[in-house]
């Protein structure tokens, strides 16, 4: 249609005093796509969302929604689900719906009622009496009930049980299939793996992986060699540009390979292993490889 991105974050940095929460982030999201933002706690996801929607000021860089800086009118078409509930404890679920009906011209009361039923919420209950998951559900009802063109969702499934987590994914997928754009963060890699066509991984405020889920999966492989006795020294393997990382444990050597996994497998085969196999990486493997070195070892024997 045109080349305008639904969301364009360019050269964005955010400093708090001497701490740089986000460094030089560029992330452009195509209209109609679903972009999943992953990263360990404190990697800058929420900071990015807050600056994108104008709750905090960027130290550097530009943020655009549908080709223009965020302004009050933006919120006629953009829904934002904050990480922490922004609901009023003393108001009921129904009060919130009414409040939103008055605030947004594009609010769809019928849709809101459907969503309240979908999440099995009690209309007369005060928000202060709701569980964490029900809080999230109310916020989701409000976000989806004016059929926004753009959804920015910070941990949209937080506190929800597996059934309602699936409902959230369905809502996201349905929104995208009618042309809306979704940018969401999650700790649940499986959700991103299902719903997102694009994934961005942040670590310490820096974008370390950015691509379509399918391309990432297609491009990274593990070459695993199992030896009879001990794993031999393979000269130059760690420094090989095709290899991202090597793992040795007992009689097993695993090479995380960016390209030419066949070549690496043949190279390992020269050392007469018992077995060599090429394994596909799922998104969790890609995430852990990328974030690498930060995974605390449980058990601690290092084997």
């Amino acid at each position: 249609m045109n080349s305008t991105y639904a969301i364009a974050i360019r050269d964005f940095s955010k400093r708090y005093g001497s701490f740089e929460a986000v460094s030089n982030l560029t992330l452009e999201v195509e209209p109609g796509s679903i972009c999943g933002l992953l990263g360990p706690n404190g990697s800058g996801k929420t900071t990015t969302f807050k600056c994108l929607i104008g709750l905090a000021r960027a130290t550097a860089g530009t943020m655009e929604v549908e080709g223009a800086p965020v302004q009050p009118q933006t919120f006629e078409t953009l829904a934002y689900l904050p990480e922490r509930s922004a609901l009023y404890e003393w108001m009921t679920v129904a009060d919130h719906l009414e409040f939103n009906r008055r605030s947004y011209r594009s609010y769809d009361p019928k849709r809101a009622e459907e969503l309240v039923d979908l999440f099995r919420l009690e209309r007369k209950k005060k928000v202060g009496k709701l569980s964490k998951g029900q809080h999230t559900a109310v916020a989701l009802v409000l976000a989806f009930s004016f059929r926004p063109r753009i959804l920015v969702l910070d941990e949209p499934a937080s506190g929800l049980d597996p059934v309602f987590q699936r409902v959230v994914l369905d809502l996201i997928i349905e929104a995208a299939s009618t042309g809306s754009t979704v940018l969401f963060s999650s700790h649940q890699i499986g959700q991103v793996e299902r719903a997102a066509d694009r994934v961005a991984i942040l670590k310490n405020g820096k974008l370390i992986v950015d691509g379509t889920v399918d391309t990432l999966k297609g491009s990274e492989k593990i070459v695993e060699a199992i030896f009879d006795q001990t794993v031999p020294e393979v000269d130059g393997l760690a420094a090989d540009p095709r290899v991202r990382r090597i793992e040795r444990s007992g009689r097993i050597l695993r090479a995380y390979v960016k390209e030419d996994s066949d070549g690496i497998a043949r190279r390992l085969n020269e050392f007469s292993p018992k077995n060599v196999s090429i394994l596909d990486l799922n998104l969790e493997d890609i995430f852990i490889t990328a974030v690498g070195g930060e995974i605390p070892t449980v058990g601690g024997d290092g084997a």
Partner: protein, 136 residues
């Protein structure tokens, strides 16, 4: 809509490739008949809980490969000659190749001899392809 396709997002195989393989398999086996309508992109994305663009990409590739055809406003259909195209048969060969290849590699890892592996293989062949069943 019957859940005729299943995909596993947790594997390393890209979802659109899984979906393409599933459709080709269904067409080759006849569980999707020539002329039969496929679910819309939106319906299938929601049914499988996967990204709509992933479904759309799979449909585009299937159309390019001559397995399905899409007419704007009407939807996507299995082509009349969809099951006889080389593509569909090649897809079945690919699946068989992968499955048998994995089994043979696994057997080798167990330390069996080539001769013993062949014996087992022919025992299984006899079990599933009884004599006189050459054309089925």
């Amino acid at each position: 809509m019957p859940a005729i396709f299943t995909v596993d997002p947790r594997t390393g195989v890209p979802l659109y490739l899984q979906l393409i393989e599933q459709v080709k398999r269904a067409v080759a086996l006849g569980s999707l008949a020539p002329g039969e309508q496929l679910p819309t992109v939106k319906a299938l994305a929601l049914n499988l809980t996967i990204n709509p663009n992933t479904v759309a990409r799979a449909y585009r590739d299937l159309e390019r490969d001559g397995v399905i055809e899409t007419s704007p406003g009407r939807g996507s259909f299995v082509r009349a000659d969809g099951s006889s195209t080389g593509e569909s048969r090649r897809a079945m060969d690919d699946v068989a190749n992968t499955v048998l290849g994995d089994a043979v590699r696994e057997t080798k890892t167990l330390g069996l001899s080539r001769a013993r592996a062949a014996e087992i293989f022919f025992e299984q062949l006899d079990r599933w392809f009884p004599a006189g069943d050459d054309h089925k």
